[in-house]
Amino acid sequence: MSTAAEELHHDDHHHHAPSGIKRWLYTTNHKDIGTLYLWFAFIMFLVGGAMAMVIRAELFQPGLQIVEPNFFNQMTTVHGLIMVFGAVMPAFTGLANWLVPMMIGAPDMALPRMNNWSFWILPGAFTILLASLFMEGGGPAFGWTFYAPLSTTYSNDTTALFVFSVHIMGISSIMGAINVIVTIFNMRAPGMTWMKMPLFVWTWLITAFLLIAVMPVLAGAVTMVLTDKFFGTSFFDAAGGGDPVMFQHIFWFFGHPEVYIMILPAFGIISAIIPTFSRKKLFGYASMVYATTSIALLSFIVWAHHMFTTGMPVAAELFFMFATMLISVPTGVKVFNWVATMWRGSLSFEVPMLFALAFIVLFTIGGLSGLMLAIVPVDFQYHDTYFVVAHFHYVLVTGAIFSIMAAVYYWLPKWTGKMFDITLAKWHFWCSLISVNVLFFPMHFVGLAGMPRRIPDYALQFADFNQWISIGGFAFGLSQLIFLALLIKACRKQGEPVTDQVWEGAEGLEWELPSPAPYHTFETPPVIK
């Protein structure tokens, strides 16, 4: 008894909140919730990463050696779901929680109780999804895109759990998005006008609108799958008058805006980091806002570029091809602005800047392969090959995830008050940078040569490249353990204390707060210059 009391006492260093686990369970503080989201995302990143290691181990050699094809399919499916809904999206929500109130001079998020709920239902959703892997027949094996009839006629009964967990993930992100919108609309400090908001706030605002627009459509799609499978409706069943191709339309109507949900906050992060380490103002702030808005709007009219091979009429193929290419215009504006910001700046290459620079180069490679995929006749060849896998990993891993890492390195000293271990961080950067390219670059070539995606076996001539890819994969996976070690050290508050500004050249309200940022900030609104 006395030891328990001692332990309680020991954990109680935050006098404002209940102690121990209860502090985290009941917390409504935006910083606590941000931390929870970020750790959750990182754990999911490691879990999803472990699945990627299984995939790469199986593909190390042609033939079937380590896992059953059905299990392989479950790995590709759950890897995709976890990385999208468990790693990238919660990480961005965590960053929004930490940063949006501090950047607009608000004391907290507008709806703190809902904030607590939107986080705490997430672990439940992923427990359900992961548990289904261990049930009879295994978990979902139809790809993260769950095309009907794979997910209806040909799936097993754990599909119900898949649907349930996607619903919970959806509700969580919708609540998170509503919170962000209300906070930005109603909680800005006096004088923080729209066009003074940092770009991270802008991009997150637009992302939040995309989320509330398309997450319900995803919910509709999974519900239709559920009722088709278990309750005799025929939305996607031709025998009953439905159409399986319609599934793809509904899914991608959600799916394409979803990919922008995963990249717009990244644009905001990069737009914060580049000016700091160039010691210049961001070039073309207003054009960045307009570019982000037009990307978001255009993202609703390009969905069928995922469906070029379903037999659409030529007129529709042309429309979606040109609409897709149009998106690269505002995207190009952004890349141009970042480069122009660096032009004649006095650059320095701290770790966040290294990740941001890698982002610009590698994300652009991903954009270029996207442009190739947007060309209809060319996509007929590339569709469903490793070329597509290469494309979306360049935009998502070296795009979204590199931006998240850049953000963590950039703001971590503000959160902990201590500089992270720079040597480890540089190891993490260089190991990740090299291995990620060994991992994903050769995928372009095997894709062009015709290796199909989502298949556990392949033709002999792809063997050499696949070994390289797998080696790159294992190395990238191991590199993330460096990041883990660094984060543990940082959370133990090891390292040199930092100044309030942390980075010479950093501008914005969050850098005017003390380091570490106190538990409660801006309880009286700051004065905006």
Binding site: V182, F185, V217, D243
Partner: protein, 188 residues
């Protein structure tokens, strides 16, 4: 105190609007279903032919060109019937009424109800094939061991674009016994 109150009112109002958008978009997902059907009916782009009978009345026959129509049959997984077109391919004048018979046989010891679903390729041709009679308009029951000849009467609309000289009509036979229990029982 009062400013806090107004702040909460403001938040509440905005949340309500946003929740409205969320429900609206959930509804929109379902609205996409009829929209898709209407859109495809008008444009014919998913290759589905009309599921109601056309009337053959005062149609002018265009003797200046012929169109080749090919018929493909298949049974969906788990549907054990034999199913084939008696005529695999016909050359027709647009506007001319034709009949093609389809043979089905249920050689199992079970009663089945089938539904045939047509699909035309290229999809745009679907708008120009008019059926005055088709087995695909209804469920087709067959008792154990029975066989039947199912007719399909159609004409190609003379409006068919000139560049379409050949199109394929595929029928897929689905097992809908479970959905049509009553019909099956009456048969048995």
């Amino acid at each position: 105190m009062t400013t806090e109150q107004t702040q909460q009112d403001k938040n509440g109002k905005l949340v309500l609007k946003l929740v409205g958008v969320v429900f609206g978009m959930f509804g929109f997902a379902y609205l996409l279903v009829p929209l898709y059907d209407v859109f495809c009916d008008i444009t014919g782009i998913n290759g589905k032919t009309s599921d109601t009978a056309a009337v053959y009345e005062a149609v002018e026959i265009d003797k200046s060109r012929r169109v080749t129509v090919e018929f493909i049959t298949r049974t969906h997984t788990g549907m054990p019937w034999q199913f084939e077109a008696k005529t695999r391919r016909v050359d027709v004048y647009p506007g001319e009424l034709n009949q093609v018979d389809f043979f089905v046989k249920n050689s199992t010891a079970k009663n089945y109800v089938a539904q045939a679903i047509p699909s035309v390729s290229p999809g745009t041709a679907a708008l120009y094939i008019n059926k005055t009679e088709c087995f695909c308009f209804n469920h087709q029951p067959l008792g154990a061991g029975e066989e039947a000849l199912m007719p399909m009467k159609f004409y190609v609309d003379p409006q068919l674009p000139k560049d379409i000289k050949f199109f394929t009509v595929q029928y897929t036979l689905y097992d809908v016994t479970a959905n049509a229990q009553d019909v099956a029982m009456n048969q048995g």
